[in-house]
């Protein structure tokens, strides 16, 4: 549904910005889909007022003039063929290079004379059908001004979505009414005259015969004579054009205008073409045909409601008129149809014939029969005014009045449901803004009568909804101190599950051990006195000496579990525990969640197809790498030698920023011996609380996929064992950041043909470019650069 701001302001005196009006609509429940400059204003944007300062005939063609035109800033030469072209005329000028509707105005030679721009007729400007000559503006018009401003075409068009329960909002008056209620500003609707205001308009008995009053609850026909069919005045066309309705002629434009104003369709017949000069509302006869205004012929069954004359259908009721009885330029008498139809029947017929008109769209939403006299009167008034029409007779078939039931509302129920504290007076004030009227009331209950255009209000809850709509959905609860917030630590919840699941799916079994331990547990691991793991929290009344303190590490428990399972005959063990450790930190007890894992034996079980791989430090490092990658933790792994229980040269610290968040390593064989552990044991120990502290939610943003193929290239070289992989990797990656997508170490070789203190490494590079397929040349160049950079920084030998 479209409306323009200027049209809206015919009914309500508002001076709001587009944003303010959008907000007012939004909080009325009217969704704003689009806001734009009115089409006509947009089209005429570049047209300015200009004065012809020179005018002489074209030497090569009689009917043409060569004019010099002052358009405010410059004087331009224009060739024009309009007969009224003359010196001094003020008219509309469009410069070359601009568009007027679909016409692109170009600088061109016309019969050998340069024409820079164009002078326009009213028709060309879309203002009227007048194409006799260029538009003539009064002498006092300001040269250089915009045509849009002069004709006040600058309007803003809103396209809004109306929910199906609110046909009353398919009307610009309806929207004004809702905004008025929402902002508590009065409307300035003009009173519509009663039909008996018109002295010559007399009731008739022979105009309308309603044979289907169940499907047509009301039919008001009015005959208007002396009608002059012509073009509508500019103001009316502006209104219609602003909402995208094409002006046709005064009678058609008036019916469109009134429909948009009231949301209730109406139709005009040429009464001279109605056989018997009367209307019969009836079901169609099987096999009857009608050619509709869309120039298609419809074959009717006895299910459809038609408007007929004494012989044949002249319209498919409420949906579309027939061609034969339509208004033409020669029409002088019309029969104006203002009626209401059963919405279900309209919908059925419209669906059956696949005809969807502004009219069917509204009727199928259950309109009110009581709007009928208003639209009739408004249309009559306009037809008298704009078509010199003389209303002479009417007949109003309205066999059973439409009566809307009164609706009651309980104050306590309203407040309970809405969480408000509204008084009876406040509730009444809100609903009266919507033109509901109090019928009667007690302290607790108010009974309202419903205005005829609000058929959707039938139950208490409907009224409660209207109250909160006007009170404000977002105002509810604003004055209460309660802020609803979640107490769940979602990050911890999610990450804990992610970690446990990751390890589970990678072959680890979860252990849960006692929180108690004995003091010797750290002694065995040679943990130094000052380490936090020796700041035990002692239990005053322990259950035994081996559980006299709280655990400060998950490792002793897991080592115990490993021993148990080895003694049960297990060889390959992967276990982890995620749980709290407790220690004394400056006289306050601290509780931290740690994740500790151990691997003993083979990394994978024996399988007929796959070789067994002994676990080593890289098995456990790989697990931690993948785990932390999943948690989006950017960390570095640094070789260290300061843990008392890890074997020298088999110890890695996991660093994030300044903080050590964990370690990876191999249990020192001497310590393993104390546990009677023969096999190598690899472990990781990670502070989960620190991970949570440093965790950032993954910021997943799509980066464009390179559309060109990836190329793989290997680079192999011999280098001193002292140079670390991570240094080499950094160097390779630093050569180019655009083409190198991935660098992967795929081989290490020591021994034969390689010096004792050296190793040979092979890296595989994935290369691609978003600019195009990489040529052999590009690739060779890049590989050379990499090799040059490596050679510059280290002593390497290409293999």
């Amino acid at each position: 549904m479209k409306f323009s701001v200027k049209w809206l302001r015919d009914y309500i005196n508002i001076d709001l910005s587009v944003e303010e009006l959008s907000d007012a609509l939004t909080f009325s429940g009217i969704e704003v889909e689009n806001v734009e400059i009115s089409p006509l204003a947009k089209e005429l944007e570049s047209v300015v007022i200009a004065r012809v300062v020179e005018c002489k005939p074209h030497p090569r063609k009689d009917s043409l003039y060569i004019c010099m035109v002052d358009e405010g800033t410059e004087v331009r030469q224009v060739v024009c063929g309009a007969p009224n072209t003359r010196i001094g005329i003020k008219t509309a000028y469009i410069p070359s290079g601009k568009h007027l509707c679909d016409l692109h105005v170009k600088k061109a030679e016309i019969k050998g004379v340069l024409s820079d721009g164009m002078l326009c007729s009213e028709q060309e400007l879309g203002l009227s059908n007048d194409h006799k000559g260029i538009i003539e503006l009064p002498g006092d018009t300001c040269v250089g001004g915009k045509i849009v401003d002069y004709f006040e075409l600058d309007d803003v068009t809103f396209d809004v979505e109306i929910t199906p329960n609110r046909p009353d909002l398919l009307a610009i008056r309806g929207i004004a009414r809702d905004i008025s209620a929402n902002l508590n500003i009065d409307t300035n609707f003009k009173e519509v005259k009663e039909l008996d205001f018109y002295p010559d308009l007399t009731p008739s008995e022979h105009l309308v015969e309603n044979l289907a009053d169940r499907l047509c609850p009301r039919y008001l026909g009015t005959v208007i004579n002396n009608v002059v069919i012509k073009e509508s005045p500019l103001w009316l066309k502006k209104r219609l054009q602003a909402i995208g309705v094409k002006p046709v002629n005064n009678v058609v434009d008036i019916s469109n205008f009134v429909m948009m104003e009231y949301g209730h369709p109406l139709h005009a017949f040429d009464i001279d073409k109605l056989s018997g000069r009367k209307i019969i509302v009836r079901k169609a006869h099987k096999g009857e045909k009608i050619e509709a205004l869309d120039h298609r012929t419809y074959s009717l069954s006895d299910q459809e409601l038609v408007i007929a004359d004494s012989e044949k259908p002249v319209a498919i009721a409420g949906i579309i008129g027939g061609v034969d009885s339509s208004i033409t330029e020669s029409t002088t008498s019309i029969l104006l149809e203002t009626a209401n139809f059963d919405y279900a029947s309209i919908r059925k017929t419209s669906k059956k014939f696949k005809i969807f008109t502004d009219s069917s769209y509204r009727f199928e939403r259950n309109l009110s029969s009581d709007t009928v006299p208003f639209i009739a009167s408004k249309a009559i008034e306009m037809i008298i005014d704009l078509c010199q029409g003389k209303p002479i007779s009417y007949q109003d078939s309205y066999p059973s009045r439409e009566i809307l039931s009164d609706v009651g509302l309980r104050i306590s129920r309203t407040n309970q449901l809405l969480a408000t504290n509204l008084t009876k007076e406040e509730i009444i004030a809100y609903l009266e803004r919507l033109q509901l009227k109090v019928i009667d009331s007690t302290d607790e209950r108010i009974k309202f009568s419903i205005p005829h255009f609000r058929k959707d209000l039938t139950r208490e809850i409907d009224l409660i909804e209207e109250v909160i709509r006007l009170y404000g959905y977002n105002r509810v609860g604003q004055d209460s101190k309660v802020v609803t917030k979640s107490l769940t630590d979602k990050k911890r919840f999610k990450i804990t599950r992610q970690i446990t699941d990751f390890l589970f799916y990678n072959g680890f079994s979860e252990a849960i051990n006692s929180s108690f331990t004995d003091k010797n547990s750290t002694e065995t691991l040679k943990i130094t006195e000052e380490d936090y793991r020796n700041s035990f929290i002692d239990i005053e009344n322990p259950i035994g000496v081996d559980s006299s303190v709280m655990r400060t590490s998950l490792l002793p428990g897991l080592l115990k579990n490993v021993m148990l399972n080895i003694s049960n005959g297990r060889e390959d063990i992967k276990m982890f525990e995620i749980g709290k450790i407790y220690y004394d930190c400056h006289d306050k007890p601290e509780e931290k969640v740690f994740l500790t894992g151990v691997i003993v034996g083979n990394n994978n079980p024996k399988h007929w197809q796959i070789n067994v791989h002994n676990s080593d430090i890289f098995s456990v490092k790989g697990i931690v790498q993948s785990l932390l990658d999943c948690l989006n933790k950017r960390v570095t792994y640094i070789a260290t030698e300061n843990s008392s229980y890890l074997q020298k040269g088999q110890e890695i610290k996991i660093i994030s920023g300044e903080k050590i968040i964990g370690e990876i390593g191999k249990l020192d064989p001497l310590i393993a011996k104390k546990f009677d552990l023969q096999q190598p044991l690899y472990l990781f120990d990670i502070n989960v609380d620190l991970i949570l502290e440093l965790y950032r939610e993954k910021d997943l943003v799509y980066t464009e996929v390179v559309r060109y193929p990836e190329v793989e290239r290997d680079i192999s070289f011999i280098v001193s064992k002292k140079i670390s992989h991570s240094n080499l990797l950094d160097t390779i990656k630093s050569v180019d950041t655009d083409y190198i997508k991935e660098v992967r170490l795929i081989d290490q070789f020591k021994g034969k043909n390689i010096p004792e203190d050296c190793r040979s490494l092979t890296y595989r590079l994935k290369l691609s470019s978003s600019a195009g397929t990489l040529t052999d040349n590009d690739i060779q160049q890049l590989m050379n650069n990499i090799f040059a950079k490596l050679s510059a920084e280290y002593t390497i030998n290409k293999r």
Binding site: K481, V482, T484, S486, L487, T488, D489, R492, F493, R497, T500, D501, L503, F504, Y505, N506, G507, F508, S509, E510, A511, I512, N513, S514, S515, F516, I537, D538, I539, E540, N541, P542, I543, S547, M550, N561, L564, N565, N568, R570, I573, K574, M575, K580, Y582, D584, H586, D587, K588, P589, E591, N604, P605, H607, W608, Q609, I610
Partner: protein, 350 residues
Amino acid sequence: MNREFDDLLHELKQSLKIAENDYDLNNIRSQFLGKKSRISKMMKQIGSIEPAKRPLFGKKINEIKQQIDSLIVSRADEIEQHQYEETLAKEQVDLTMPGVQPPVGSLHPLTLMRRELEDIFISLGFDVVEGYDIEDEYHNFDALNTPENHPARNEMDTFYIKASNTRPKQSNNRLLLRSQTSTMQVRTMENNQPPIKMVSIGRCYRNDKPDKSHSPFFHQMEGLTVDEGINFLDLRDILIKFARLMFGESIQWRFRPHYFPFTEPSAEFDIRCFKCYGEGCSICKQSGWIEIGGAGMVDTNVFDIVGIDSEKYTGYAFGLGIDRITMLKYRIPDIRLLFENDLRFLEQFR
């Protein structure tokens, strides 16, 4: 002439017979149809033939060419079919042999239960909060309406933290290991105003001699709802919803009056024994009912202590023994099995 053609075809057939692959076939094609083939040479001789016979000759050559081509093509189809069958035969394997399985470990049964509880209560609109194991007397007892000398305050049951040099003994509020997750009721209400709807799962400690149903540390879930208009029916409703989600729609239940210092009225919540259906068995200790947890309406004294308006708000609280429910659900006879971490036990829970 015809003789020559017959020879040619015979020769072709011999060659095709020994052809094995596309390479051989391509050679044959160029040998018999290529520029230097005999047929090409014959074609070139057309000039030397008397004009009247030329059309017939040309027609004959074309026929032979087509014949050669179709023989080669049909042999190519044969070879392709043969290769396809060979591939199928080669890839006949014993499909009962094991696939390459990525390794899978196991999740601890308590973790499985914890997740199930969390998911159930999240679906019922509860927040999940975390608490501390090391608490003080105030949060474990006093604030829960269990002042000193209260008969319910069994000192013997509670582990106390030993005072240290740096942490002198505070005789009026000693540190301890919480004996119940109900401490989380106090912690949550101290820090938040209603509406509150939370559960908290955690470890508790009691100085019990370990046996098949007791462990000095164990796990509980605490639930708490505080809002305007919360009533006893809300409590019963939420626990029945929980029991149905956990043990099935057809579960039978009952509430028994009970006593807890921090709720009033207080109750214990039983479900029908899912093994004997009420007949009496070892799981239900012949009673036909299994106790699931304790519950009640939050005592107004607790509200007063934590500073929540007890006239405006009401609430309910409940506590469930997680180890106990886990043992019931998985039919684990001895609580100690849960903490031994024997892989033969753990690996049953995948």
